[in-house]
């Protein structure tokens, strides 16, 4: 068994990723795509932003190039750089440049994590110019109609230091994501993992309990993703309380007192 090797711009999603639409986000995204507008996805972690992007990439049948931003991400990391090969320098495109060339979807995940000077390189791409200046080559890359730029950020734990600048955010069509309603979330868990409906709805109830704790000791409540993890463990014969402890409580916090409290909540429920 070997892993498939793909160039980022060849990464097409072949099978439909499961995505349950909450509102009209799919229609809005498709309209923005046709109108060549960039899109900003807002929402807490694990509520389905990335899954939504995969689903969109599948619907549009375009390659999806995802960049997870971090605080050392420089402009060259996105655009490209010269490398040395056998005594000569060769240019290598960064993921953003290759997405533009290939006419794919470039998804910059957690954009606020990137350095401030990095964020401005996407500005000319994100307004009606739709060009990517490649300074070191002295070139301008004009984006084809198929190209699409999407970024995501989590307004929940933004700090003063990591805010999205107005000049950046005002270039985007924004879609807000949140955890789905109880009924829908239960269905998502059932579909994703094949767990029975009763346990799934208990998991959702448990998630609501942890979300109640947001702000009084927890930074964030349990996300849908964590619920899916826990449900997967349960379907593999892990007891629900243990699954909640390992897949949810431990993932949420390191605080011992809080861990005990969350465990007490899950043992009360199952």
């Amino acid at each position: 068994m070997t892993a498939r090797v793909l160039k980022p711009e060849e990464y097409y999603i072949e099978n439909e990723p499961y995505y349950e639409s909450i509102g009209d986000e799919i229609e809005v995204f498709e309209a923005a795509y046709r109108q060549k507008l960039p899109v900003l996805l807002k929402g807490p972690t694990g509520c389905g932003k990335t899954r939504f992007m995969e689903h969109i990439a599948w619907r549009l049948q375009k390659p999806l190039i995802t960049v997870s931003c971090h605080d050392d991400l420089t402009a060259s990391d996105l655009v490209g750089r010269y490398l040395v090969k056998g005594g000569e320098t060769t240019w290598v495109d960064g993921p953003l440049a290759s997405a533009v060339r290939a006419g794919g979807i470039c998804y910059l995940d957690e954009i606020v994590e990137a350095r401030k000077d990095t964020m401005v390189v996407i500005h000319p791409l994100a307004d009606d110019r739709r060009v990517l200046p490649v300074e070191k080559l002295g070139e301008l890359l004009e984006a084809p109609d198929e190209f699409c730029l999407a970024i995501s950020y989590n307004p929940g734990y933004q700090s003063v230091l990591k805010d999205l600048k107005q000049s950046t955010r005002q270039r985007f069509v924004a879609l807000e994501f949140d955890y789905p309603g109880a009924e829908l979330e239960t269905n998502i868990i059932v579909k994703e993992t094949g767990i029975n409906h009763e346990l799934a709805s208990k998991l959702v109830k448990f998630a609501h309990m942890t979300r109640n704790l947001k702000g009084s000791g927890l930074e964030e409540g349990a996300s849908t993703r964590l619920l899916v993890h826990a449900a997967k463990l349960i379907t593999d014969d892990v007891s629900p309380v243990t699954a909640c402890h390992c897949a949810i409580a431990q993932a949420l916090t390191d605080d011992t007192e809080m861990l005990v409290a969350i465990n007490e909540l899950s043992s009360s429920l199952f």
Binding site: T74, A75, S76, R81, Y82, L83, V84, G87, T89, R115, K136, S159, V160, L161, A182, V204, K205, H208, M209, T210, N212, L213, S216, G217, V241, E257, M258, V260, A261, I262, E264, L265, S266, S267, S268, L269, F270
Partner: protein
């Protein structure tokens, strides 16, 4: 080591006499000493240490402690004796000697049936977990507090300081948990939606009636918990079994089935109680059956209901106002808010509300959502009169806004703690905290607009220039790092060298790139300035000058900083003076405040460290520093002097350090070398011998600290 011989009765008596000041208090220590003499040395020492700790609070209390402790020793675990003694001392702190003596005397109640059952759960140890547990359950956020009886006033859950009904600590913890859940269920499943006080007034035997109501209501709530928290319900069954409380009398069996139906309300229970009263005897209370304090509940609810109604109406008025701002035409028409119920099986009432304006759903603001949940919890519905937006000026905003009390007001009135931050204080003799001991208030400083700042800058103009230069060099900057393994550009020098190396056969370096590296200073610092009376004169001036120079340099540096003064006059009057808060820019106002720093009262330090650590912790920064400018050791009007003050300050600094704050002290007290290493640690202080040098040194020290 050989076991030490036990002390004789005489020796013990002598020790106790000196601890209890017998010369003046005329207490009789012979009897307890005689009993103590029969114990192992280790146990003797243990008791005597505790007598000493209690005696530091009150001698009478200590005397009562020893007379009761000797009886309790064989029946109680040491952990419980400690909890009991600490609870007595806390009671003394809060309500005085009389109540504290009561706690000591009722030791038998303190641990009900304490024989064998010395494995209790202590509230203080469990409150963290239980608090989170209560928050996690849905609905209004409930606080936890300690009280002798278990009940809730619908906002706070009161729990006993210790539970020891069951053989193991785990089971007793479970009992706490069950109590919390049942009290939560009372507020969540509408026990208080009926007005019990009216009903009780009509009854000839209100107590029996209430007891029957509680027996039946508990059955209903148990069924609610079974549906809501089945895991806990199972645990509650085992609790009942182990206390042999699980046998429901036959007369109750069929009633229990009726009460277990999902749509049973407290109203039905009340009706049933009326029907059965006189025919049915109330059940003996279950282990986790809380008591009902009807008066407190109704007072608390009446206040909240009124307040929430105002808040909702004011919020609706705000929504309307915003709509009108956006759309002029809006003003002309009549508008009607409405509430629609949307079925939602996850809530206990089976529905959620949707707010509509002229039949158009609108997204309610977060506050309205919280309010309407709380209202539904109280009333089961949102009455129509809540949906009329408040008219202009209908309510005085002071009534409903969160009260930010003017700290000066508090002191013009009676002697109380309202509106103050309460902080604990470490009592080293007791080896424990005194809870909610210091009443701390933030006070504004009266700005003095004079030429102090300008003249200081003039006086030190040479130094200021120098400081600016040195500090500018420390600022955030991008540095181009050469010869990196990975980077944005090619380092041509390195490449040429590497190629040359390759040509004559040596190994070629892979460090061929340049990279921009951002040096980020992410520092937040609080300056804690001693404003005690002893700083009067030179020291005060030196402090103010130092602050001016510091502010100038920190402005060039761009570090976030705040300046607070502190001073205290006994524990109830601890004051923090706001000189510059983190989000305030350095401007004329701040300069005038620095100029307005005046010597006040005494040097109580622990509360200042605790309060400022708290402020510092709310700021996002990689490095947090707390710098104290002081002129002497901690000292206050009441007992806060000598070791007590030093130990409390040390404890507060330890707490700060545990939270990731770096404390540092700059002092001009020459004797400081005796106590500062103990308080701040060996490398976290500077003693300045000459007052006049303070302004010159402070910026320099800051530079050293942060590079």
């Amino acid at each position: 080591m050989a076991a030490r011989p036990p002390l004789t009765a005489l020796e013990i008596e002598q020790q106790l006499d000196s601890l209890l000041d017998v010369e003046f208090s005329f207490l009789k220590t012979a009897a307890p000493a005689a009993i103590l003499a029969g114990l192992e040395r280790q146990e003797q020492d243990y008791i005597i240490t505790w007598v000493q700790r209690v005696a530091s609070t009150n001698i009478q209390l200590a005397y009562q402690f020893i007379t009761h402790a000797v009886d309790a020793l064989d029946s109680m675990d040491k952990r419980i004796i400690e909890a009991w003694a600490l609870h007595a001392m806390d009671t003394y702190d809060q309500t005085g000697l009389y109540k504290a003596l009561e706690v000591i005397r009722t030791v038998r109640n303190f641990v009900q049936l304490s024989h064998e059952r010395n494995a209790g759960a202590v509230f203080e140890e469990q409150v963290g977990v239980l608090g989170h547990f209560a928050h996690g359950l849905s609905g209004r956020k409930l606080k936890l507090a300690e009280a002798e009886i278990t009940y809730t006033d619908t906002e706070t859950i009161y729990l006993p300081p210790l539970l020891a009904h069951l053989p193991t600590p785990d089971q007793n913890f479970l009992l706490y948990k069950a109590l919390v859940a049942l009290l939560w269920a009372q507020t969540r499943f509408g026990t208080f939606r009926i007005k019990l006080s009216d009903q009780l007034q009509q009854q000839p035997e209100p107590e029996n009636f209430l007891a029957l109501f509680q027996s039946l209501e508990t059955l209903r709530l148990e069924a609610c918990l079974e549906r809501e928290l089945p895991g806990l319900f199972r645990d509650m069954q085992t609790l009942k079994t182990s206390l042999a409380q699980n046998n429901l009398p036959a007369a109750y069996q069929s009633l229990a089935k009726r009460l277990a139906q999902a749509d049973t309300t407290a109203e039905d229970v009340l009706q049933l109680t009326c029907e059965q009263f006189g025919k049915l005897q109330p059940l003996p209370p279950l282990c986790y059956q809380p008591s009902l304090q009807i008066e407190e509940v109704e007072a608390c609810m009446a206040k909240r209901i009124e307040m929430e109604k105002i808040r909702v109406r004011v919020n609706l008025a705000k929504i309307l106002e915003e709509m009108q701002k956006e759309n002029r035409a809006f003003e002309q028409q009549e508008h009607k808010f409405d509430i629609k119920k949307i079925p939602d099986p996850t809530t206990p009432d089976g529905f959620q509300i949707e707010l509509t304006l002229d039949d158009q759903p609108i997204a309610p603001p977060e506050e309205v959502k919280v309010l309407s949940n709380s209202i539904i919890q109280d009333l089961g519905d949102i009455p129509d009169e809540y949906l009329v937006p408040a008219g202009e000026g209908e309510y005085d905003p002071r009534v409903f806004e969160d009260k930010q009390q003017d700290p000066d007001d508090v002191w013009t009135g009676t002697y109380h703690e309202e509106g103050a931050f309460l902080y604990k204080e470490w009592d080293y003799r007791r080896q424990h905290y005194r809870k909610n001991w210091c009443a701390v208030r933030e006070v504004n400083i009266t700005p003095v607009y004079d030429d102090f700042v300008d003249s200081t800058l003039h006086k030190y103009s040479g130094l200021v220039k120098h400081l600016r230069k040195t500090f500018e060099a420390m600022r955030d900057e991008d540095r181009l790092l050469k010869r990196q393994v990975y980077g944005d550009g090619v380092d041509i020098d390195a490449l040429v060298e590497a190629l040359a190396d390759a040509h004559d056969g040596s190994e070629m370096s892979d460090r061929l790139f340049t990279r921009m590296h951002r040096v980020e200073r992410n520092i937040a610092v609080v300056f804690m300035v001693d404003m005690s009376g002893s700083t009067k004169g030179w020291i005060n001036e030196a402090e103010r000058e130092s602050l001016v120079l510091l502010s100038e340099t920190l402005e060039t540096l761009g570090d976030r900083y705040a300046i607070y003064g502190f001073s205290g006059l006994a524990r109830k009057r601890c004051e923090i003076y706001r000189i510059k808060e983190f989000d305030e820019p350095y401007n004329e106002e701040i300069k005038a405040r620095i100029s307005g720093i005046q010597p006040k009262d005494y040097t109580r330090m622990g509360f200042a460290v605790r309060h400022l650590s708290h402020i510092l912790n709310e700021v996002e920064a990689r490095t947090r520093i707390l710098i104290t400018l002081s002129d002497g050791k901690p000292d206050d009007y009441d007992s806060y002097r000598g070791d007590y003050g030093i130990e409390d300050t040390r404890r507060a600094l330890l707490e700060a350090r545990r939270e990731g704050i770096h404390p540092y002290c700059i002092t001009i007290d020459r004797e400081a070398r005796d106590y500062l290493p103990h308080m701040y640690g060996p490398a976290a202080y500077t003693v300045i011998d000459e007052v006049r040098q303070l302004p010159l040194k402070v910026s320099d020290i800051y530079r050293r600290l942060t590079t």
